[in-house]
Structures are given as C-alpha cells and as structure tokens.
C-alpha cells in the first residue's frame, strides 16, 4: 500500500517536473528548425519562477471567480494527469478514474477557465472564450468516441487495463485503432492550442484563442495557468504513449529494473512525440478559425466510423 502510494506520488511529481521541460523542448526545437537560436531549454522553469515572484494584478471588475479559476484549472489538470500511467501501470488512483473521468476533469478545467475569461468583461476574454468553446464542442465528443473505440477493443476504460491489453498480441490488426490514433492526435492538437488550430506563441489578436482568454492574468495566477497548459501537453503525450505505444511500461508489482526500463522508454516516447510535434508545427500553417470545425469534425467522424467498424467486426 505504501509502495503503491509512493509510486503514484513519484509519477505525479514526475509529470509536474517534466511538463515545463517538454514545453521548452518543443519551443527550442521549433526555433532551431526555423534556424533561430531560440530560448534555452530551461526557460519555462525560469518564467514560472519569475511569475511566481511577481505581483498579481487583478482587474477592478474581477470577482472571486477570476482569482479562484487558475488554481481550479491547475488542480483539475494535475489530477487528470495523475490518472494517466507514465512509466508504470497500476496507479493507485487509476482505479478511481478512467479515460472518461480524465475527459471530464479536463472539461472541468476548461469550464473554470472560460468562466474566468468571461468574468472580467473585456472583449478579448469574450472572443477567446467563444472560440475555445467552439473548439471544445467538437473536440470533447471526439475524445469520448476515442474512449469508446479503445474501451471496445480492450474491454475496459481503465488506462492501466487498456495498456495491458494493448501489450498483448491478441488484438491483431484493427483499422479502428488507427482511426482512434489519428483522431486522438487531432484532438490533442486542438486541446493544447497547437498550430493548425491555435498558435501558442502568438499575441496577435485576430488569431489567438487560448492566449486571448488568459490575457488578463499576471503573476502567480498566470504561472498556474501556464503550468497547467504544460501539464496538459504532457498529459496528452503520455496518453498517446500509454494507449498506442505501451511498450516498456513497468507492470504492477515489478522490480526496480523494470521501472528503470519504463522510465527510459517513457523519456524516449515523450521526446519522440515532442520532435514530431515540433516538425509538424513548423511544416504546417495555422487554419482560419472557421476551418477548425471541419478539421475537428474529421476527428469526430473518425471516432464514429471506428466505433461502427468495431461493432461490425464484433457482430460477425
């Protein structure tokens, strides 16, 4: 029991410590691909530290909601991240929450953030919120459909159980899983405000979505929101790795050696996903906002189609 708790604690701490590193890695790599020098790898940590030491300025028209929201966003995202196996399965919290709970927790974080975006009453907050909700209204159903596909194949919505099933070779070839993978990548790009949907580096008013929503924040509040977005990025990277590349995950109750292997594999997988993200983002242009529903609709369609195909092959 103590060992289980320690394992869970280690993974939660790992996610928190590693998240800014992944963000910094992707930023640096993108800069290098554009032949710029870019910020140092550890810049996000420094930014967070600096923001934590600064005074938080709150608008006169802001209510308590504005001050509470960053902590709620961060807490919900961190708890969701705690449910995703990183380098070892059999998380103790994992039995109290599954893939659908993770989606719901991320939805809760988004709810808090959009409320805070509307709270101050500036036009930027409102436009960011309305765009964010438009994206979410397509991305969340797609995420649920992905959860259905994966759980239909694995017979469970528990991430640890799914990873265990994926590791066996009984699954065979499943076109639905390929569809789920593509859909999950699209959803992950949209949820993390990455390039075809939103540009994480921009402060250009016409294009920004996420940044417009959090424009009023400063100091420790902004630090919480930035850290939450980093954790969310790492969460999706871990989710992709755990669902579709579970190789090397240390199973429940294994020894130290398996855990070390798991850690190394996790590092390699997250690095690989970071490299792919950076290459993808530099090779593609941002979409017009009104093209986004079509892009996310493709994810939703893949989700539907995958589920239908699974039902066919089940019923035969």
């Amino acid at each position: 029991m103590i060992a289980d708790l320690a394992l869970q604690g280690v993974q939660m701490a790992l996610v928190l410590l590693l998240a800014p590193l992944l963000t910094g890695f992707v930023r640096t790599l993108k800069a290098r691909l554009l032949r710029r020098r870019g910020p140092p790898l550890l810049q996000p940590y420094r930014d967070l530290w600096r923001l934590l030491g600064k005074e938080a300025i709150v608008a006169d028209s802001a209510s308590w909601l504005f001050r509470a929201a960053p902590y709620l966003v961060f807490a919900a995202t961190w708890v969701a991240a705690a449910l995703v196996p990183t380098y070892a399965t059999g998380l103790i919290f994992s039995w109290s929450g599954d893939l659908i709970a993770i989606t719901a927790l991320l939805g809760l974080a988004r709810f808090a953030q959009t409320l805070a975006g509307l709270d101050v009453g500036t036009s930027f907050g409102a436009i960011g919120t309305s765009r964010e909700l438009m994206i979410a209204s397509m991305a969340e159903p797609a995420m649920i459909m992905i959860a259905f596909i994966v759980s239909l194949v694995a017979g469970s919505t528990q991430l640890s159980a799914i990873a265990a099933v994926m590791l066996t070779y009984e699954i065979g070839l499943r076109v639905s899983l390929a569809m789920a993978l593509i859909a999950l990548i699209i959803v992950a790009l949209a949820e993390n405000a990455r390039i075809p949907v939103d540009n994480p580096a921009t402060h250009l008013e016409l294009t920004m979505v996420h940044e417009a929503m959090v424009l009023e924040y400063s100091g420790r509040h902004l630090a919480m929101i930035d850290l939450a977005s980093s954790v969310k990025l790492l969460l999706y990277a871990s989710l992709l790795a755990c669902l579709f590349a579970p190789l090397g995950l240390a199973p429940l109750g294994s020894g130290l050696a398996a855990h070390l292997v798991g850690l190394a594999a996790y590092g390699a997988k997250v690095t690989g996903i970071g490299v792919m993200l950076a290459v993808f983002e530099t090779s593609i242009a941002k979409m017009r906002v009104f093209r986004v529903p079509g892009f996310l609709g493709a994810a939703l369609m893949l989700g539907f189609l995958g589920t239908i195909l699974l039902f066919v092959s089940r019923s035969l």
Partner: protein
C-alpha cells in the same frame, strides 16, 4: 475472435470506407482526384487479398485492372481534364462538409443495418465486405448528389463503382468475364462522360451543373 485473414480484409475494407469519407471531405478538385487514386489502390490491395484467401487466381487480374485503370489511368485522365478546363478552384458543395460527413455516417450505419441481418449465416469475410461495399456505394451516391461540379460527380461515380467491385469480389464465384466487362464498361462510361464535360463546358462556359437547371422544364 477471427484470424488474421479476417483482420486484414476488415482493415482494407475499412480503409476503403475511410477514403470515401476523405473524398467527401476534400473541397479541391486535385486533392479529390488524389483521394480517388488512393481509394483505387486500396481496392486493388483488397481484391488481391481476397484472391489470396479465396485461392482464386483470376481475382489477381481484377486487382491488376483496378490498379492500372482506376489508380493510374483514370486519375491521370481526370487531371488532364481539369487542367484543360482550367478549374483548380474550390468546389461549391450543397451544405457544408460537416453536414455531408454526418449524412455519410448515417448512410454507413444504414448499410450495416440493412446488410448484416440479411446475410446472417454466410461467411464472415463476405458479409463484412458486402456491408462495407454497400457503404462505399451509398457514399459515392451521396458525393454525386451533394456536389455541383460535373467533374466531382464523375469522381463520385467512379468511387461508387469501386464499391461494386468490392462487393463482387467479396461474394465468391463471380465469373471473370463479368468483372472484366464491368471494368471496361466503366472505362467507356468515363470516356463518354469526359466528352460530355467538354461539350457542357463549350455550351455553358462552366461545368457547374446548376447551369443546366434552367433547361429541366419543370419550372414555369
């Protein structure tokens, strides 16, 4: 569960349906023709796999026909046509792509609902192939209904025909003569349609079939 043979057949047929949705999603003609070529290539692979699991060597000829005519010759000819007509612009669709895709999902569900109970008791691979083939046929029809551009309607027709070939190969014992004659009649239909495209273009200066609505005679 089923063996690897079923899984591969399932995967290829599933990809065929997916490419149909890719076509519904595309709103540029050149991308649409690329999607048609991909679908034909997947169809070739699917038919070749049927040849392996049914141990029917004549199906290899069908696969080869699909690969040569549908994946290479027809897309090349279509590309030539759109270059000569000078239409690389966007297609106007009736309704948005989102709505069309939703309708497509509905059609796939309908096809499965119709075929699976009817074919109960026969071979699993054949059942599934026929169900997915009917989906491809319906999606091709949907494509022909929702697009106004005559070239994309031709693409819809070609994709419909791909669905028919999939159904024909899924069912055992389709004679080779029938398949070859179907393949060639489609080719001839394509040539006729190609000539018509240029005629429409000559007369109306556009290949948007809405221009023809005036001549239907049902309006006052």
């Amino acid at each position: 569960m089923h063996g690897l043979a079923f899984d591969i057949a399932h995967m290829l047929a599933g990809f065929l349906v997916l490419t149909s949705f890719m076509m519904l999603y595309q709103d540029r003609l050149s991308a649409l023709i690329n999607a048609l070529a991909i679908q034909a290539a997947v169809l070739g692979a699917s038919v070749a796999w049927q040849a392996v699991i049914q141990e029917a060597p004549h199906l290899y000829i069908t696969a080869l026909l699909a690969l040569v005519f549908k994946a290479v010759v027809i897309p090349m000819a279509l590309r030539r046509i759109i270059r000569q007509l000078g239409i690389h612009r966007e297609i106007e669709t009736v309704g948005g792509t989102g709505l069309t895709m939703l309708a497509g999902i509905g059609l796939v569900a309908l096809a499965l609902q119709v075929v699976l109970p009817v074919t109960a008791g026969s071979d699993a691979v054949a059942r599934e192939d026929i169900a997915l083939a009917l989906s491809v046929v319906l999606l091709g029809l949907l494509m022909m209904v929702t697009r106004r551009n005559a070239v994309s309607q031709v693409v819809g027709f070609m994709s419909l025909e791909n669905g028919i070939v999939l159904a024909a190969t899924g069912a055992r014992g389709m004679p080779l003569v029938v398949e070859i004659s179907v393949a060639f009649s489609v080719l001839i239909a394509f040539i006729v349609v190609g000539i018509f495209l240029f005629r429409i273009r000559e007369r109306f200066d556009t290949v948007d079939v809405q221009a023809l609505d005036r001549f239907r005679g049902e309006r006052r």
